[in-house]
Structure formats: C-alpha cells, structure tokens
C-alpha cells in the first residue's frame, strides 16, 4: 500500500521563492543530496536525511538564474544557467559562483537535463539539443531552430532507453500541444501532435512521463481535473514519415482535482501517481496518491498553506513548496498484497460457497494494463489514415447518459441489457461508474432511489467500497438494511466508521419495521426455539470448562455470583434479538475491520444498544460452547473468534458505560466468571506441570541410585 510518511521541512527559513515557486529540485550524484534552485539567484545543496544545507551558491546581484542547477553525474560538477545564455560549472569546493568556469552560449537555454549514467544535455528554447561536452568545446557554435515560431516549450524530460539517452519535450502553440522525441543513438527527432479528444477546451496543467516498455507513457493533468495518458512510441514505426504522427490520449483517472490552476502531477511508479491540487473547488490543496490500476485514492494529505503547484519526485521523496517552505514528504509504496489491502480478513468462508472473488481479480487487472497499449496503438494507426472518425460510443457511456434522465424502471431494463453483454477486463470500473452515476442522480433527485438496480449491481460481486464510495451512505440515509447487509457481505473494504454506522442502525431499528424487510437469513439458524433443558446442564459445564466455582475456596466474590446463576442462564438462553436483527448483526460480525479504527466509533453507540449487542454476542458464545467443535449451526455463521473479538472490542470501548448499567451487570458477571475460570484452569495446569517436573526429578534421583550394576547380556 502506498503511504505518505511524516513530512519534514528542509529549511526553517523561507526560500527566495518567487510567485512561481522554485525553479527546480534536482538530484545529485550522492544519494540523499538534492540541488534546490530558487527563482532568484541562489542554488542550495541539501542533504535531505539531515535536513541540512551542505552548500549554497548565489549569482551576482543583477544576474538571474534562468534554469535550475543540475549535477553532472559523470564529473560531479554542478551546472547552472543564468541570464538565459551564461553557463556556470562548479564543484563543492567552489565558494563564489562568480569565479567559477563560465561559458556564454549563442542561444537561450530552456533547460539542462542530467540523469545518472550519461552526459548532460542542453535543451535550447528553440528546440535544439546539444551534449554538454560538445557545447563546452565550442560555446559559440550556431544553434539551429527546431520548433516553429510562437511554439513554446512547456515541459521536458530525459530518459535512458536501453542505455541510450532519449529526450521528450512538449511544446504548445495556440492551445495545440506537440511532443518531440529525440533519441541520441539515431539523432532523429520525431514530432507528434497530441490530440486532446473531446475536451478541446481544456488546458494541460502538468505533465509527467515514465517509460513503459517501448512507449513513453506521457501523463497529463488537464484543467478539467482528469489525468490523461498518451503513449508515445520510442521507436517510431516509420521514421521517414514521422512528421505528422498524431497520438491520442485516454482518460486514466477522472476528476482527481478541481480544475483550478496550479495543479501538479508526478508519476511515482507503474501504478501510482501523485497529484497536487484541491480535490474540490472550495477545498484546500491536497497531495493525493492515486492507484491508476484500481482507480483508487490511496492516501491524501492536506496542505493548508497552499503550494506553488510544483511537485518533484526523486527516489522516495516528494518535494513541494508548502506555503513558502520547501517540504519533503517521504513516500513509500510497499508491494500491495491482498491481505494488506483487505486488512483483517473475513473469516468463516467455506471455499465452495462463493466462487466469485470479493475483490478485483489481479490477473485480469494486469491483463487490462497490458491490453491498454494495444487498442491505443491500433487507434494510433487508424488515426493516421482517417483522423476524423469518432470512436464508437461504448455501451457503458450510453447507459451512463441514460441514467441521467430515464425512469427507474427504464434504467433497470437498460442495466439488465448491459449486464448481459460479455464482460470486459475493466468491467469492475464500469460497474463502479454506473453506481456512481446512479448515486449522483440520487443526490440531486431525492425521490430517485433505483434500489433494485443497485442491488443487482452489488450482486455482480465486483464492487468494493472504494469503487462506489457513496453507496452505503445513501443506503444508510434510506435505512435500507437489506442493501446494507448485502454491502457488508460483499464489500471487502468498508471503512470502520461505516461499519459502525451500520451496526448502530441495526441495533436501533424497530422490530416492526425490521419485520417488513427482506433480509438474507442464511447466517441465522433457528436457535431461538431449539432450547432444551438437558442441554443447559451441559452448557454450564462447558462454560466453566470443568471448573466448578463453588468448590473453589480461594475466591470469595463467587458467593455473590452463584446466588443467581440460574437467572443469568435464563436470560441468555433465548436469543435476545429477533432473527432478522440477528442476521443483520451477523453481517457486521463478518465484516473486516481493524481494531484501532473501530474502537473510537464503538464508543458512540448508546448504552442500551451496547448491552443488547453484548447479550446477543454472549448468547452466540453460549451456543458455540454447546458443541465440541465450538461452531454455530447454519450456512455462514459467525465464528467463535469473531464473537470473542467483538465482545472484547465492545467491552474495551464501553467498559465504564457498561459497568454502570444495571441490566448489563449479570452479563458482565457471567463473562467475568468465565474469564476467571479460564485463569484458574491455567494456574491449575501450571501447578500440574510443576508437579510433573518434580516427579521427573524424583524419578531421576531413583535412577541415579542405580549407578552400578552387573547384568547378564546375551547377544543374539
């Protein structure tokens, strides 16, 4: 799971960051060291783990650094450009930037690009590229113009592709974007036009790119708040006709930020991107990590003092200006595992009962990733031939648009039709979109509640809470316990707060309104009427595990307890809740949770409900103890561990409250008695163990006495 760690600031003193933020943050040849260039005159070398500057260099008053300082990984020198044309090279030992090596170039530099393992490159504003060594050998050499007039370089990145350096830069001209890819083993420049698709009006705010096999995966964050991906081939299929290639972009993530300015995007790894920007128009800026494979928000961190809309990512650190202060947030993405993603696993699932996976099938999702490049390549080729043909509107789009206006009945029919079609690899995301579409309409139209459609979608077994975040809230609002039960049974990733809200509702809802609902009863067997007197005798025995408190003379409080044990048992033998409520509560018991997150929410449940729930749990526990395997009857009953965990959780969360309630007293007493008998058994076992050891010692001593004997032996 991706995780953001505790942030730290690199300098207490605000940097001389201008209104546009910093010029750049660049890696150094030593790990953990970074060159920070502010938009004024200063370059600072930081050691990030120490949060300390190691060196600082400034250009003279009147000069302005125009291009962020970089490190030449081959020589360990630092390079910076000031006043667009003057190149400076220096090392750690140099103090004054004025006295270091200087080269004045004939054209304006856009950026110097340097990555480990190769010589730095200089990208000029006119699009020409030179190796640093060649340039330094002849600084005044003529620099050709590559891009057209009024075309401006917006962004650039330098890669190593199979040990060959490759450069990509994006230019803009009148709202049109062009990508240039230059490889240095062939010195060929390929130009691509970025087709923006339907969202023609949007402005691209931020670019990021990563290598994805034979493609550069260029991601862009548009002003509509969506992230788009464009695959640009590194090796153009036809280098001769490379002038007018067009590439389309596809939506990767929808509406991750609100479309303000100053949003930034950075790709972290194959599946994760970091997005900087406000998630809603009114909200504060956030740093969010999104998983592109599962389309889920992994983690988000609010940055209340605002940012400069710049984001750099190196190694395990995300750099940004928070307010005026350069902030580093360590980012870690451990390999996701299903167990990690699900938290506490669901228990008690018979392998045969449910064949559908609860969670996204990773194999198909990976398949989706690899297939993704295929269609776009095909589109690419088709575009070459006839670029004007609009792609076919997929069925899901059609359905989504229907959802916005049709009646519930009609939607249901449409949905059934849609679900009958063969599943595509991205089926789960499509279903998620449909649910979100439905919920969106629910919110705007209070009377609209397509219950059967939603139920049908949930039963597809592909949804998870994170795919349709609003669904359970809506169900809670509508007190739709059946839907909630279904969600609890189906979703592996329900937040503890929601689980607890469900629990609250299940406990508080009136019996008569429950009777009307159609709740799945398979987890409840009819133990309410199967109470038999002779079984009860066994029960007390099992409850105390063969230990009889009356005979135990070491404790005195038992007198009080044993006064009315009959009452206690009487109370707990009949199920304290009606079967429908029991079924709902069982769904809660089955749901996955993490104790730390659940505990605070449990405290909010009213005391009488806590007591009721405890009584129910205690009843289940007694039922469990009735048979040797310690299981409950029924198809999908709660397990003993689940019951015990919940009892502990409830008591932990509400102990002071429960102690004060008179009705809970007998319950607590019986629980207390049970625990005490367990302790007694353990201590008795320990005593037995010690006795055995003593016996063994005695036995040894007896053996020792036979230190010498004469025996008769016959060999056969």
């Amino acid at each position: 799971m991706a995780a953001l760690e505790e942030e730290f600031t690199l300098s207490a003193v605000p940097l001389g960051a201008g209104p546009d933020g910093l010029l750049g943050v660049e890696q150094c040849d030593k790990t953990d060291q970074f060159l920070i260039t502010d938009s004024g005159r200063t370059v600072i070398l930081y050691k990030v783990s120490d949060q300390k500057p190691l060196g600082s260099w400034s250009v003279k008053q009147g000069q302005v650094i125009t291009c962020p300082a970089v490190c030449n990984f081959q020589t360990g020198e630092y390079i910076v450009v000031h006043d667009s044309k003057v190149l400076r090279l220096w090392t750690n030992e140099d103090v004054n930037l004025d006295k270091v090596f200087k080269a004045t170039l004939s054209a304006e530099v856009y950026r110097i690009l340097s990555i480990p393992g190769t010589e730095p490159l200089v990208l000029f504003k006119e699009g020409a590229v030179r190796g640093l060594e060649a340039l330094l050998a002849e600084p005044q050499q003529k620099i050709e113009t590559v891009i057209s007039d009024e075309e401006v370089i917006r962004w650039t990145k330098f890669f190593m592709v199979f040990r060959h350096p490759a450069l990509i830069f994006i230019t803009e001209k009148h709202g049109n974007y062009f990508a240039y890819v230059q490889k240095f083993n062939s010195s060929v420049v390929s130009k691509y036009t970025l087709l923006l698709g339907q969202e023609e009006k949007s402005v691209i705010q931020s670019f990021t790119a990563s290598l994805c096999r034979k493609f550069i995966s260029l991601m862009s964050l548009s002003s509509d708040g969506c992230i788009y991906e464009t695959l640009i081939p590194i090796h153009p299929s036809d280098p001769e006709k490379n002038q007018h290639q067009r590439v389309v972009r596809s939506v990767l993530l929808k509406t991750v930020v609100s479309g303000n300015a100053r949003n930034a995007l950075s790709v972290l790894d194959q599946d994760h991107v970091a997005v900087l920007g406000p998630p809603l128009p009114a909200s504060k800026e956030c740093l969010s990590i999104w998983n592109t494979k599962f389309q889920t928000l992994q983690i988000s961190k609010e940055l209340p003092q605002g940012t400069s809309g710049q984001l750099w990512y190196y190694g395990e650190h995300l750099f940004m200006l928070h307010g005026k202060i350069l902030t580093v947030i360590p980012y870690k993405c451990e390999m996701s595992s299903l167990a990690g993603a699900l938290g506490k696993l669901k228990h008690g699932q018979d392998p045969g009962t449910q064949t559908m996976p609860h969670f996204v099938n990773w194999q198909t999702s990976q398949g989706l990733g690899s297939q993704n490049s295929e269609p776009s390549k095909r589109i690419l080729r088709r575009r070459k031939i006839e670029a004007s043909v609009q792609p076919e509107v997929p069925a899901s789009q059609q359905l989504l648009s229907n959802i916005k206006k049709d009646s519930e009945k009609h939607i249901e029919i449409e949905l059934r039709k849609f679900l009958a079609i063969k599943r595509t690899p991205d089926f789960h995301t499509v279903i998620g979109d449909i649910v979100i579409g439905l919920l969106g309409r629910c919110k705007t139209e209070p009377s609209f509640y397509p219950r059967s459609s939603l139920m049908q979608l949930i039963q597809m077994h592909v949804l998870s809470y994170s795919l349709c975040p609003g669904l359970m809230e809506v169900a809670l609002e509508k007190t739709d316990v059946q839907m909630l039960q279904l969600c609890l049974q189906q979703f592996p990733d329900i937040p503890e707060a929601v689980t607890c809200a469900c629990l609250k509702m299940f406990l508080s809802i009136g019996d008569d309104s429950l009777q009307e609902t159609d709740v799945n009863m398979e987890s409840v067997s009819d133990y309410s009427d199967a109470v038999q007197e002779e079984k009860m005798e066994e029960q007390t025995g099992i409850l105390q595990n063969g230990f009889n408190p009356e005979e135990d003379n070491c404790d005195n409080c038992d007198k009080e307890l044993s006064e009315k044990p009959q009452n206690t048992i009487e109370e707990t033998t009949s199920c304290p809740v009606i079967p429908k409520r029991a079924a709902l509560l069982n769904a809660v018991l089955h749901s996955a949770y993490s104790e730390t997150f659940l505990l605070p929410h449990l405290k909010d449940i009213p005391a009488q409900h806590i007591t009721l729930f405890l009584q129910y749990l205690y009843f289940l526990y007694l039922k469990c103890s009735e048979n040797a395997t310690m299981t409950l009857p029924g198809i999908h009953p709660p397990t003993l561990n689940q019951i015990m965990d919940w009892i502990c959780l409830l008591l932990d969360a509400n102990f002071t409250v429960v102690v004060m309630i008179p009705e809970a007293k007998s319950l607590l007493l019986s629980l207390y008695k049970f625990v005490k008998s367990q302790i007694c058994i353990c201590s008795e076992l320990n005593k037995i163990e010690v006795s055995f050891r003593e016996l063994q010692k005695l036995n040894q001593e007896k053996n020792n006495r036979e230190l010498y004997s004469i025996e008769v032996l016959e060999l056969f």
Binding site: M335, I679, C682, Y708, S709, I710, V712, E714, L715, F716
Partner: protein
C-alpha cells in the same frame, strides 16, 4: 555361568554367548558448554570452542568426525573463534590474548596480548589478511596476519563500552561493531565511526537496564543485522544509520547470528534454546522484490544457544546444553540421504576411559582430574536381562587432581593396574600405584626426560612393561618401565617433512607391533623389536576413529569415520581376505547410516574370529565366521530366541551381533572371556548437572 537348556547351550557354543556386564553409570562426565563455532567453507571444517577453553575441529565432510582437539586451559575462556587466511584458526578470550592454533602439531602456535583488556569479539577481514578484535575497554584493534605471526596494525576510534560483536562488510571497507546500547559503523580506512545506531532498551514496554548487542552481521547491500539482549533481531541501514525493521523473536536474549555466504538466509540463536531461520524471500511470486522473513524455528536446545554458524547446507548451533546441533537445510540438500538428517553431537569422539583388565580398574579422565575405580563383583548367575546381586560394590580408589590450569589431554592406566600416565599441554606425568591389601599408595615418577613434555596419546603394552607416547611433534617414544623407574628405549621420528601428530595408538598383545595413526595420512606400523617402521597402511579418504591389533594373527583392525572397517594383516602387509570380502560386498546400509564413530575396538582372547567394537549408541561383535548381512537382512535383531529350531536361526544369523542396550555408551571392553564392562553416561544425568534453563510457561499468558 548358569545352566541352560540344551538347545540354547548348543547355540551358544557356536554363537556369541552370554556375558556378565558391569554396567557403569558413575562416570560423572559433563561436557563443557559450547561458546563459539566457526565454519570454514574451504575445508568444510567446523571449529568449536567450549567454555573450558577446549577447541575442537570437526570435519563435516568426514561424517562430522571430531578429528582434532586442543586442550582447554582454566584462564583461557574463549569468547571468539575465527578462521583466517584460508585455514588458519584464531581464538581470543577474556585473558586478553589472541591465540593461533597449529592444526598440524595440535598445539598453540603462539599467543599475543592485545592490550585492550578482555577480548569479547574477533572477526577476520573478508580477504582473510586482517584480524580485528573488540576489547573490554571499547577499543577495536586491527592486526595484520603475517605468514608466521600476527602484527598489530592500528586502533580504531575507541568506544565507550566493550565491543561484544563485530562484522566486516563483505567488501572489507566498513565494520559494524555491537556494543552496549549501540551499534557503531566504522570506516576501515580512517578507523573512525561514521554512524552510531542507538538500540532501544525497551523490551515489550519495559525498560531494561541495558541492551547488549550480542551479534551483528554486515551484508553487502549495507544492511546491518543486530541481535540483542532484548530479544530483538533488527535490520539497520548503515548508510543512513536508521532502523529499518525489527523482529521480536524471543522473551530472552538473542545471543548469536550467522549469515550464509549468499546472504539469502541467516540464523539466530536465543537464550530460550530456540534457533530461528530467516530467509530472503520474494514478496510475491512474480516480483523481484525480496524481504527477510522468519521462516523456521527449531528447538533442539534446552539452554542458551550461545553460537550459531551457517554452512551452505546446514544450520549449526551450540550452547550451554553442550550439544552441537547440525540441522541440514532440506532445500539445500540435493540427495535425501543420511546426510540430510539432524546431527546432535554431545560426546567427544575419543576415549576418556581406560581399563586395567587384570585388576578390573577403570580410569576416568576429566578435564582437571582422574578418577580410578575398582569394579565390584558378584557370585550369582542369571539369565539374559537379569540384574545380579552384588557381593562387592564398586570402589572409588583414587582421585588424582592435576596441578596447574591446563586440561588433561590424555590418560591411561596400565593393563596390570600399577601405572597411570597422563599428560597436559606442557607436562607429562607417570605414577606408580602400589596395592597393599586395601590400601593404595601412589608415587609420582619424577624427573621425566625433557622430550616427554606433552603427549597426544599414551598406551601401555599388554604386559605393562613398555609405555608408548605419541608427542605432538609427530614423534613416538618407547619407554621401558621398571619397578618404580623407566628407561627411554627409542623414539620414532616423524616422517620427514610432516609434523602431524599421531592421535591413535595400538599395540599388539605380544608387544611386537605398534600401529599409530594421525588425522590424514595412513596408519604406520612399527616393529617394536627391531625398532623400525614395518609398513604403512595406505591412506584412506576418511580419518581413522579407532585402531586395534588382534592377538595371535596380528591383524590390524581400522575403523574409519565413514563407518568402514578394514582388517590388515601386519605380517603379510596386505588386507585380509575377510576385509576384501566385506569391501566387495559392502556394509549393510543401516551400518553405514550410524552417526557416531566407532571409538574402541577389542578382541576376545579365546575367539580369534570375533571383533568387538562400539560407538555411542550400540556395541557389536563381528563374527567373521558367519556370512555377511546384505541390505535385505535384518541388521539389528534384538529378539531373544524363541522355540524356533536352531537351523532357522543359523540360517538367518549373520556376522554382526548388535546390542543397543547400553547408551550413550562411552566405553566398552572385554575384561575376561565372559565379562564385559560398559560405561554409560545418560543424558538426563548431564542435564541434571547443567544450570536450569529459562522457564517457559506452557499454559496461560
């Protein structure tokens, strides 16, 4: 002997017969606890040091045979042991000295004071050319290993407290040193600490007084693994000095760590006697990302596991409970043969007991004293399995304490019972015993010659007139014993060019032949009459574990650590026909799978076809006249004869008559034709003498 039925007596006359066995359990031997083990990959040997300063060398290729040992010394508590420069062995201890051992001559080459107080840790550089020791005063001292000696090179930055553990980075550029409450990372070039990593004292929420770093391991990727007294195994990033991961493995100290050469697995030992195996495994089946995972716990020890080693195929551990445990890693063992079985070595692979047949005496050798016992007697008779009433109990005749701090290397009582000889690393002692009724008087023979300073093995001739002494320079001395004095007869010098000590001696009952064997070269046979080398039995791949010369035939029987037995005719200078036959046919597979070596061979005075031999778990009489067993026959048949006819029994009878009645068996010999003596040392008796282990609650929390 008792009356038997006619069937049985007829069988017995042809078979092994019935013995009275003196079953002796009063040999109060307790092995010393194991302090360090060091594995040498090059030679596949394991050096083991014990708390009394003894150092033993096990040859893992030769069926885990303990082929060499260096006697202990009271003041020489070994705290660290390591191999360097290929096959040179060094130890360091609390007396502040670094010792190099001479593996050929089996003595200490030299010892050198490091001048840093007691030494707690030592590690050889990956190249093997440097030796680093960590001292009580917090200093780290680097020594250059020269061909003949070691030479002090320089000190590293001194730390605040004792350096308890050391590990070199495989590149040799950095060192991790574990101290109290902190781990320091040193740059070897500058000798200065570049990182100091503080270890949490907290132990399950309770702050202990100190956290002792018992062990560190430096991996090539810069990870430092530490084990400490709070029960933690921690992973540190040495580049940043930060803690990466913690595994809480025990409620008590984790005392030792060893990493495999491939750095894909390591092993830690805890004070609870548990050994944990950690492996670097892929997080998911497809990814290349790997993670250290605690994979297997082993509980082969009852007490502290003070030390562990990791050979390419096995985990080796040793500790206070005195067992050396070799646990093969099943995934690394290619052939699932008997090598894949767990080995637990408790007893030394040499004899600590000698016996005087004439006077029925047993001499027990301890590290600092000798005990002489006289066996009891009985007049009763009985049948198989009976315990006979004693008419006279065993007597403790003598308790002979050595002077000085050195351990006894070897000892022997003469067959007549009038002489006792023993040796420490620097002195040889010869004593004369006089028996007057019930009184025994002991006279030490003074003025031992200068050449008799230290012996590796001592042997008396059958008639007790000659004493044979194998010195640690490879020479063999023959001394004639007279009443109360002695005369040096001859010295066989070591073969030119070798200084290998002779660890095993055997003399023929007629006193004409002396056989001597070292650890690697063949067995030399000397003619005692003519005082010259008679012949050399060709060297065999596996070391000799026991030697004996048969009466009358003068056949030399040799047992090797791979459980092979050879019979070599000394007069004919060739292997006997029986030996050739058994080599051709091969031994029974169960015989070859025994895991303790044969430590003693003897013969029946009246039955020349019988060879008696024993290891720690069985005793066997080989009757050469019977057919050899093949793999289909039952090797070990403990069942007594029923009413089966003699014919069937004869048909199924084979040459190996085995008894597993006495175990662990440290010594067995024939006192006379019908009497055996068996010295057992039950493991429970040893455990009873050890300090109590950490108590673990079995029930409740």
């Amino acid at each position: 002997m008792g009356r038997r039925t006619s069937v049985l007596s007829s069988w017995n006359s042809a078979g092994m017969g019935e013995f009275k066995v003196h079953r002796v359990r009063f040999f109060n031997y307790v092995p010393s606890g194991i302090r360090c083990v060091a594995y040498n990959n090059q030679s596949n040997r394991l050096a083991v040091s014990r708390t009394d300063g003894t150092v033993e060398i096990y040859n893992l290729s030769a069926n885990y045979f303990q082929e060499k040992f260096f006697p202990g010394h009271e003041s020489r508590a070994t705290e660290a042991l390591c191999w360097a420069k290929g096959q040179r062995l060094f130890s360091a201890g609390l007396n502040g000295e670094i010792i190099e051992y001479d593996l050929q001559a089996l003595n200490i080459k030299y010892s050198m004071d490091a001048f840093g107080g007691p030494i707690w840790s030592m590690a050889a550089s990956p190249s093997g050319s440097q030796l680093l020791v960590g001292c009580e005063d917090g200093s780290l001292k680097l020594f250059q290993i020269n061909p003949d000696k070691i030479q002090f090179e320089r000190n590293f930055d001194r730390q605040k407290s004792r350096i308890l553990s050391l590990s070199w980075h495989p590149s040799g550029t950095h060192i991790a040193a574990g101290s109290i409450d902190c781990i320091s990372v040193f740059d070897v070039k500058s000798g200065s600490a570049i990182h100091k990593m503080l270890v949490d004292r907290q132990y399950m929420g309770v702050s202990k007084r100190k956290c002792i770093i018992w062990g560190v391991a430096f991996l090539s990727d810069g990870t430092v693994i530490s084990v400490d007294s709070a029960g933690k195994v921690q992973f540190w990033d040495s580049a940043t000095g930060t803690l990466v991961k913690t595994h809480l493995v025990a409620n008590a100290d984790v005392q030792s760590i060893a990493v495999s050469d491939q750095e894909d697995s390591f092993v830690v030992g805890t004070a609870e006697g548990t050994v944990f195996h950690f492996q670097l495994v892929s997080v998911t089946s497809s990814s290349s990302e790997k993670q250290w995972v605690r994979t297997k716990p082993f509980q082969h020890h009852t007490h502290d596991v003070r030390t562990v080693a990791h050979s390419p195929t096995a985990l080796i551990s040793g500790g206070t409970d005195t067992h050396l445990v070799i646990r093969p890693l099943m995934e690394k063992v290619e052939v699932k043969n008997y090598d894949a079985a767990l080995r637990k070595i408790t007893f030394p692979h040499r004899r600590l007991i000698s016996c005087s047949k004439k006077r029925q005496l047993l001499l027990f050798q301890f590290s600092h004293h000798l005990d002489l016992w006289r066996l009891g007697s009985t007049v009763a008779t009985g049948k198989h399995g009976d315990t006979l009433p004693l008419s006279k109990d065993a007597d403790h005749l003598l308790h002979l304490k050595t002077k000085g701090p050195e351990n006894i290397i070897c000892s022997c009582v003469s067959p007549c019972g009038s002489w006792i000889a023993y040796s420490t690393a620097s002195r040889f002692f010869l004593c004369r015993l006089n028996y007057e009724h019930d009184n025994i008087s002991l006279h030490r023979v003074s003025k031992m010659p200068a050449f008799l300073r230290s012996a590796v093995q001592i042997l008396f001739s059958e008639d007790s007139t000659k004493l044979f002494v194998a010195s640690n320079q490879g020479s063999l001395h023959i001394i004639r014993l007279l009443e109360g004095s002695f005369k040096h007869l001859h010295t066989f010098q070591a073969q030119s060019g070798t200084v290998e000590s002779m660890c095993l001696l055997a003399v023929s009952p007629d006193g004409n032949w002396l056989a001597a064997s070292g650890t690697s070269a063949g067995v030399h046979v000397y003619n005692v009459k003519h005082l010259k080398l008679h012949c050399t039995v060709p060297a065999y791949n596996f070391p000799v574990t026991a030697l004996a010369i048969a009466p009358k035939t003068n056949n030399l029987v040799i047992a090797h650590s791979d459980q092979q037995i050879f019979e070599y005719s000394i007069p004919d200078k060739q292997y006997t026909e029986w030996s050739r036959t058994i080599q051709k046919q091969g031994f029974h597979y169960l015989w070859l799978q025994r895991d303790t070596p044969i430590t003693h061979i003897s013969f029946h005075p009246k039955r020349p076809m019988h060879i008696l031999l024993h290891d720690a778990y069985m005793f066997c009489i080989i009757d050469k006249s019977l057919p050899l067993p093949n793999d289909k026959t039952l090797l070990y048949n403990p069942l007594p004869p029923t009413n089966e006819s003699d014919v069937i029994r004869r048909r199924t009878a084979h040459a190996f008559k085995i008894s597993k009645r006495y175990k662990p068996l440290l010594f067995m010999d024939l006192l006379d034709e019908r009497t055996l003596v068996a010295v057992e040392r039950p493991l429970d008796d040893i455990i009873a003498q050890l300090p109590p282990p950490i108590k673990k609650k079995k029930f409740g929390t």
